[in-house]
């Protein structure tokens, strides 16, 4: 049997390749993302090992707050600690470091790295000690004067700033002019991951990045012959003598009275590696979701391919059975074929994946994101898991078809019995209903119960399976409608719109001499043309034959469509979800912002100096200009486990002005009631705690430690203000970094807003990180940020959709192979090649539309249920955007058009005579 299976594989190379494409792509995506993240990780491990190579120990703040986005805020240490360490026994040299943000402004007045998704704008102090300085000067000199700055080489190259040039840099202390004294690299990289770096003297850095008389950490080197742990003991002893309470790196939880943490050099290197791993961890999880989606789609496609090829060979199987092969042997032969397919495809997928990873790296490099190091890092675990995943997916997908093959009666070899393609609609409907119900229960439990995201994902997967099981039952009636001639006219109309768009892009490109636009326009034109032709294909005999061919085997059509359904379903879901999020954001901002203008920071790291609000307040015609600060704190909520208090965002406002510009919806008390050591609490939390006005709640601030605050106000709108609101006074007393992330401006009644805007711009132009907008524009631009994430998600889903496109192409190609004689007959009685292409194309479009339709329905359902579930987080609106969903359908049909290209060409090139003669 083994030999029979191998012969069968070698005899049908094309079939194997077609089946394998789905596995290859799935494994490539899987291994590509792994190799890519491993490469980045290794590169950064190496980079930090390099820049920290001489560090034998470090002292840093003991208290930290993990912010919910994966970062960490750490308390600073008093500057005198440096002296204590320098004097400690065994310390040869020490240096205090200061880190913060500093936005470099280029010659055109544009702020670098200040976008919401850009790499961070880093600011450091210059470390005189060469052993401990991560920066290497490549030109000029270290910063000496207060207004000297050293910038990284990548930024210098990008901005054309050279030594001696004047450069504007915005920090929390304002926008100031500096002189470039030198250009440096960070370790061996020009700029790690595209960050900009500005390096100041320590005194300047303390003022503009950190706090005067504080460092973020102190690094030091050991004297000859002193090992790291011995050094750590010495430093701890010295700190103790000086009166600083210290803890070790591994101490957890950190006692509240601890001030400093002492690390060995190895711990410093370990910690920086962990930090990178953690920040990439979220990205990894995110990628994994899409890898799983792609693999599920692959499984659908492979399952379908095996089902078809097994059906085509049932007679051969029956013959094997007739001459004495046991059922188990037939099963084994098909599974062996799957195993070999899986192995070969995994190997190819792995190679392709490594290629993709290198391509991604090159792409990022070309976008200015410098990834240190070079070669792709291929961990043994990646290789093993790639094979495991590829082979498992293939085998699992092949089990059911193999079982069907083994059940073929031997008599089928001799008699002309109809094989395959039949199913029991009632039984199928019942099974599908049960599966769908289970999936929905799982989703609901995950969303509304405590089930978590995993349960939601599992439920979504089960729902897809349920619809896939049901789809053959509805395939025929639905496809009859989808394949009808009038649908062709709709497709033609779509195509005409695409053609128009393409023509406009092409003309625009020619007028602007923009080669990209010309190519893009040409591609869109070609696509639109293919579209129009597909619509034409629906008409007449080609359309009828295409339609009938699609209807011929509802199981096959349903399976093929289901693969596309998953990708399109998720695209539709994300589209609806994003549109709903947009609408909700606009609603919230429209209701809760009562200011006329808003100046907001465009960056997540960088903020607005407090003086901006003061300057805006002084502009004639301004009634109120008031900022909002805030950050993550630990809140000792009454219902939290001691030692496991939640981290929440707190907003800080000027209590006397807040209600003039924000509508927080105070239910009890008011904003101006919030004085020092007092706090306003969001209604839901307030109710959860069964609190009353006058009760207290403890907040753990980074610098100020644990503070007891009195609840004096309760408000209902937490979407902009978060769950807690304190006054500037309280914030300034407990947090070192003071900057606004948003400033709201309200005009005096009767002021000409256009004129006022011009006056405000004079001020805001000096702060390029801040963007001046009307409240409505602010709502729009906040909503626009959702689009950036949306595009990334679309890009990642593209992989799943490409795989399903191959699935359609594969099914068509196998069907054409099956119908060779019929196609030959059609050609003999006068069907032209273009008519034949049309026939295949329309069949593909019907299958694609079927999958797309199911996908969009599921997407709408998922969108609805998620928006319902997230009502508490400010999701007030379910928005089903008709235009975007129309575009999704258009895109789905386009997948059919594209998948049909090759099979249609193949079909039209069939040799008439040979086809008729085929047995």
């Amino acid at each position: 049997m083994f030999r029979v299976a191998l012969k069968s594989i070698l005899g049908h190379k094309l079939r194997i390749v077609l089946t394998a494409v789905a596995v290859i792509l799935g494994v490539a995506f899987f291994s590509g993302t792994r190799v890519f993240t491993d490469t980045i990780l290794t590169a950064f491990d190496d980079l930090f090992a390099e820049v920290n190579a001489n560090v034998d120990g470090q002292v840093r703040g003991a208290q930290s707050v993990d912010d919910p986005f994966g970062g960490e805020e750490r308390a600073e240490i008093p500057a005198p600690v440096l002296q204590v360490i320098e004097d400690a026994e065994g310390v040869s040299s020490a240096a205090g470091t200061i880190e913060g943000w500093a936005v470099i402004i280029d010659a055109d007045g544009k702020a670098l790295n200040a976008g919401p998704n850009s790499a961070p704008p880093l600011g450091f102090n210059w470390t005189e000690n060469e052993l401990l300085n991560p920066l290497r000067l490549v030109e000029g000199e270290a910063p000496l004067r207060a207004d000297d700055v050293v910038i990284d080489r990548a930024t210098a190259d990008e901005t054309d700033y050279g030594v001696g040039d004047e450069v504007l840099i915005q920090t929390k202390a304002g926008t100031d002019e500096y002189t470039v004294s030198g250009i440096a690299t960070f370790g061996s990289t020009d700029s790690p991951l595209g960050a900009t770096i500005a390096v100041f003297t320590s005194a300047t850095a303390q003022r503009v990045l950190g706090s005067p008389t504080y460092f973020d950490s102190v690094e030091y080197t050991a004297e000859e012959g002193v090992d790291e742990s011995e050094l750590r003991e010495n430093v701890i002893a010295a700190l103790d003598t000086a009166g600083y309470e210290s803890v070790l790196y591994e101490t957890d939880p950190v006692p509240p009275n601890a001030e400093v943490q002492v690390l060995t050099g190895d711990e410093v290197r370990e910690d920086s590696q962990d930090t990178i791993r953690e920040s990439l961890g979220f990205f990894n999880t995110f990628l994994t979701i899409f890898v799983v989606v792609a693999l599920v789609v692959s499984a659908f496609v492979i399952y379908n391919s095996f089902s078809i090829t097994v059906a085509q060979r049932l007679r051969e199987m029956a013959l094997l059975r007739a001459i004495g092969a046991r059922r188990r042997q037939v099963l084994g032969a098909v599974l062996l074929e799957a195993l070999v397919t899986g192995l070969v495809a995994s190997a190819l997928g792995l190679v392709l994946g490594i290629g993709i990873a290198s391509g991604l790296q090159a792409l990022m490099q070309s976008l200015g994101v410098d990834i240190p190091g070079t070669g792709a890092v291929i961990e043994p675990a990646t290789v093993i898991s790639a094979f495991l995943v590829g082979v498992l997916v293939t085998l699992i997908s092949a089990v059911l078809p193999a079982r069907r093959a083994s059940r073929v009666p031997p008599i089928a070899a001799l008699r002309d019995v109809a094989l395959g393609g039949s199913f029991k609609p009632f039984r199928r409907t019942v099974i599908a209903a049960v599966v769908l119900a289970l999936g929905i229960v799982s989703i609901v439990a995950g969303l509304f119960g405590d089930g978590g995201v995993a349960l939601v994902g599992l439920g979504a997967f089960v729902v897809f399976i349920g619809v896939a099981v049901l789809s053959p039952v509805i395939a025929q009636p639905v496809a009859r409608v989808l394949g009808a001639e009038p649908v062709g006219f709709v497709v033609i109309a779509f195509g005409a719109i695409v053609l128009l768009g393409g023509a406009l892009a092409l003309i625009g490109g020619i007028v602007d001499l923009n080669p990209f636009l010309v190519v893009f326009g040409a591609l869109v034109l070609a696509f639109g043309w293919a579209y129009v032709r597909s619509g034409v294909a629906a008409q007449g005999m080609s359309g009828k034959l295409g339609r009938e061919n699609a209807l011929r085997n509802p199981l096959r059509m349903a399976r093929t469509g289901s693969a596309l359904m998953i990708g399109i379903g998720l695209v539709a879901f994300i589209t609806i979800f994003a549109a709903s999020a947009r609408a909700s954001v606009e609603d919230i901002i429209g209701e809760q912002v009562i200011a006329d203008f808003v100046v907001s920071s465009t960056s997540f790291e960088a903020g607005l100096p407090p003086e901006l609000a003061e300057e805006l307040q002084d502009v004639p015609g301004v009634a109120v200009a008031s900022g909002v600060r805030g950050g993550a704190v630990e809140v000792y909520e009454p219902d939290a486990e001691p030692g496991d208090e939640p981290v929440r965002f707190v907003s800080a406002v000027d209590p006397t002005l807040a209600e003039e510009v924000w509508d927080l919806g105070f239910i009890q008390g008011s904003a101006d009631a919030i004085g020092p050591n007092q706090i306003g609490v969001w209604e839901d939390r307030f109710d959860d705690f069964d609190a009353e006005l006058g009760d207290t709640i403890d907040i753990g601030f980074l610098n100020g430690g644990r503070q007891t605050l009195e609840i004096v106000a309760v408000y209902e709108n937490n979407e902009l203000a978060n769950d807690y609101v304190v006054s500037f006074e309280t914030w300034e007393a407990n947090v070192a970094d003071q900057f606004d992330f948003i400033v709201a401006v309200k005009a005096e009644p009767g002021t000409d807003l256009d004129a006022l805007r011009a006056d405000l711009e004079v001020v805001t132009d000096r702060y390029p990180v801040g963007e001046l907008e009307t409240a409505e524009e602010f709502g729009n631009s906040q909503a626009d940020q959702i689009n950036a994430i949306l595009n990334l998600v679309y890009g990642l889903l593209a992989f799943a959709i490409i795989i399903s496109a191959f699935g359609i192409a594969n099914t068509l190609a196998l069907s054409i192979f099956e119908r060779t004689r019929e196609l030959g007959l059609l050609r003999a009685v006068g069907m032209s090649r273009s008519q034949m292409r049309r026939m295949v194309r329309w069949e593909a479009v019907i299958v694609a539309l079927f999958g797309t339709g199911l996908g969009v329905l599921i997407g709408v359902f998922f969108g609805w249920i998620l928006v319902e579930a997230l009502g508490d987080l400010g999701f007030g609106v379910l928005e089903i955007p008709p235009l975007q969903l129309g575009a999704v359908v258009l895109f789905g049909a386009g997948i059919g058009v594209i998948s049909a290209l090759w099979p249609a060409y193949k079909a039209s090139k069939l040799n008439v005579l040979e086809s008729i003669a085929t047995d």
Partner: protein
């Protein structure tokens, strides 16, 4: 070798010095060796010969399904050897009818849709009266709206003949049309083809190895080793048997 036709009849198709070879050098096989033959209009011609005699190749080449190595094929006055693939397709669609041994019908179309298929492909409206006329003679009655899988083999072949007739082609080529049928069904189909020639003045060229089938023709042409070696006009089955025996089949 040239076979003269009675001067009163027109020629529907003719091959001139038709040669078809496969392979090269020592492995060269000559399927057709300078065959020149004319097929008269409104006549029923049968082509016979032992296996490998080139009879099917001749049919395929004259019907525009296969290309000659050298020589010419004319349909009426049209030189089809000089035609592009596209022109050939149109010729097949508009001027030629086909009946194959099996798989004659498109399984997704009903009998009547199969019959009018070439005209639908051409975007022409079928001559309804003519189609009704053809359809009524094949005696399918209410089975016209059935799909091929619901018809018997004989019924399927009759539908195939009706399709070949429905577009009023200048010539019909039939390749072993009764090869898969029992003798009763085969007889019905052949009778039907015969009446198409007699009643509708249709031209039919049929390849067969069945002497009884060939006996329905007006003329039987014998091929051997790629050459026309003999022919009989107004044949009887016995006369055909004798000739075939002489050819060593």
């Amino acid at each position: 070798m040239s076979v003269a036709m009675p001067p009163t009849t027109t020629v529907a198709a003719r091959a001139v010095e038709a040669t078809k070879t496969y392979g090269e050098g020592s492995t060269e096989v000559r399927a057709l060796d300078h065959v020149s033959i004319e097929f008269a209009a409104s006549r029923f011609t049968a082509i016979m010969g032992p296996s490998g005699s080139g009879k099917s190749t001749l049919l395929h080449c004259v019907a525009g399904l296969d290309e000659l190595t050298s020589g010419k094929v004319y349909l009426g006055d049209l030189d089809i050897t000089a035609m592009s693939e596209k022109e050939l397709t149109e010729v097949r669609r508009d001027r030629i009818g086909f009946i194959f041994q099996a798989f004659n019908l498109v399984p997704t179309l009903t009998a009547i849709e199969n019959i009018t298929l070439p005209m639908t492909l051409a975007g022409r409206r079928p001559d309804q009266q003519w189609v009704d006329n053809v359809v009524s003679t094949i005696g399918l009655g209410d089975r016209l709206s059935h799909r091929p899988s619901e018809l018997s083999g004989g019924q399927q072949q009759r539908v195939a003949v009706a399709r070949a007739l429905a577009s009023r082609p200048s010539i019909i080529f039939a390749d072993e049309p009764t090869g898969n049928l029992d003798s009763r069904s085969g007889g019905e189909v052949l009778g039907f083809m015969r009446s198409a020639v007699d009643d509708f003045q249709q031209t039919i060229v049929m390849v067969t190895h069945d002497a009884n089938a060939a006996a329905h023709a007006d003329r039987v042409v014998f091929l051997a080793d790629g050459r026309v070696v003999d022919e009989i006009h107004e044949p009887t089955a016995d006369a055909i048997f004798d000739k075939m025996r002489a050819l060593g089949d």
